[in-house]
Amino acid sequence: MGEFSPYVDNGGTTLAIAGPDFVVIAGDTRLSTGYSILSRDVSKLFKYSDSIVMASSGMQADIAELRKQLLFTIEEYRVDNERDIELDAFYRLLATVLYGKRFFPYYSFNILAGISKEGKGVVYSYDAIGSADARTYGAAGSGQELVISILDAALKRKPDPLSIDEAIELGKSALKQATEREIHTGDSGEMYIIRAGRPAEYITFKLRKD
């Protein structure tokens, strides 16, 4: 009899970069366990509204369940309060839902990107039990260390404000570079470009498939 092991790491890398009035959030679409690729086309991004997108890596089953829980709760919020949930409230909701499973956590590492009440781009990055903080950029998943180094180098001491095209290119390139060195990341990339008062834009790009 094997021991009960409830968790599987399905790998994959996510990142998000915020600018003054926009934010981009991206992830790869590979789903793997160990050295096996289970699928080349599973999304890590989930759009809750035109100003809230979440990127999750970790265990696919837990992520799917977490998404369902959140969808249920924000729909309840919408009908009870007759308004759509805003980023600030969603940030707290996700933290509370994650901490609610403090002693059997969802195996998921989430990044939340969106537009705040003041119209600014914001990135929140979470640990598995809901500790979170607001940042201007973040990365998570199996390629986290690679991506965060690239973003640090590009953004930490950037003198001029980041433009939206720069952010898109930086996001794509950081994922591509992670794909070169990290075997759980690859196949294709996808990205949401979120701007205040506009529908979120969705783009995809190719990554190495090996």
């Binding site: 919020y77 309060n81 007759e82 308004r83 805003e86 600030d88 409230a89 707290r92 909701l93 509370t96």
Partner: protein, 298 residues
Amino acid sequence: MFLSRSDYDRGVNTFSPEGRILQVEYAIEAIKIGATAIGIQVEDGVVLAVEKRISSKLEETKIDDKIVEIDYHLFCTFSGLSADARTLVDHGRVAAQDHRFLYDEPVPPRSLTQSISDQALLFGEEGAKRRLARPYGVALLIGGYDDKKGFVLFHNDPSGTFCQTCARAIGRGGDTAQQMLTDSLKGRLGRGVATDEEDSEDDDLRGTRFRVPPGPVTLETATKLTVYVLKRVMEEKISKDNISLCILRKKTADEHKDAKVCESTGERVTFMKSDSVIIERFDAEKIQAIIDSLEHGE
């Protein structure tokens, strides 16, 4: 209604043949013998005023528990059984904190009123523990501030019904007071603003009309109006000791400065605090000043 007792007026789980739940209607009667309470909502705030009945000269009148805070941005007054009101208000306070805990934002006043009304409907003879065997004998006026909709006022009653309103009077003098509010605010608040004729002398002849200065109705005018109406409908002579008065309004610039600042980071602490509004309770002197100003105006 009290004279024709029927077989259907005992249980809360039986309709009468006319389709009525008589116990609920009797509960509404309990409000009509309660203290008069008035709420007015205007553009820049909400005012709640209520009669305090003092049964003895020895009673401490400084205790002001007839207008209560539900959350930083929500307050409430009531007519009817005050202990029932406390139960509902307690429920509302928990619901308000629940929303803050889950979403880190003040609960929208409408949702809060909905939640209290749900509780008001939870009566019956069987079922869950701690359930009330009879309807709550109380009606509430709930004033609040909504980030999206501005200041709002709600009324709810023992049947679990609630409605949004901009001026409402309940309790013993409720009907008369409501008529006075309607006469004074006609064409000035709510539907039909600025469409009605500017002055209708008929209302003046009845002597029930408070002269609302031209322009948007201010919170100050609304506050005076509540006292004016209470003064006319109360059985006892109005005084600084036998009414309670509270307003909910935007904070002034100075009050914003007083917001707590975190010592280590210098950040303004907004957690658990609705930052933009404040509930102001009028003390005896301020109430006396309003009563005096009304005397002089006449």
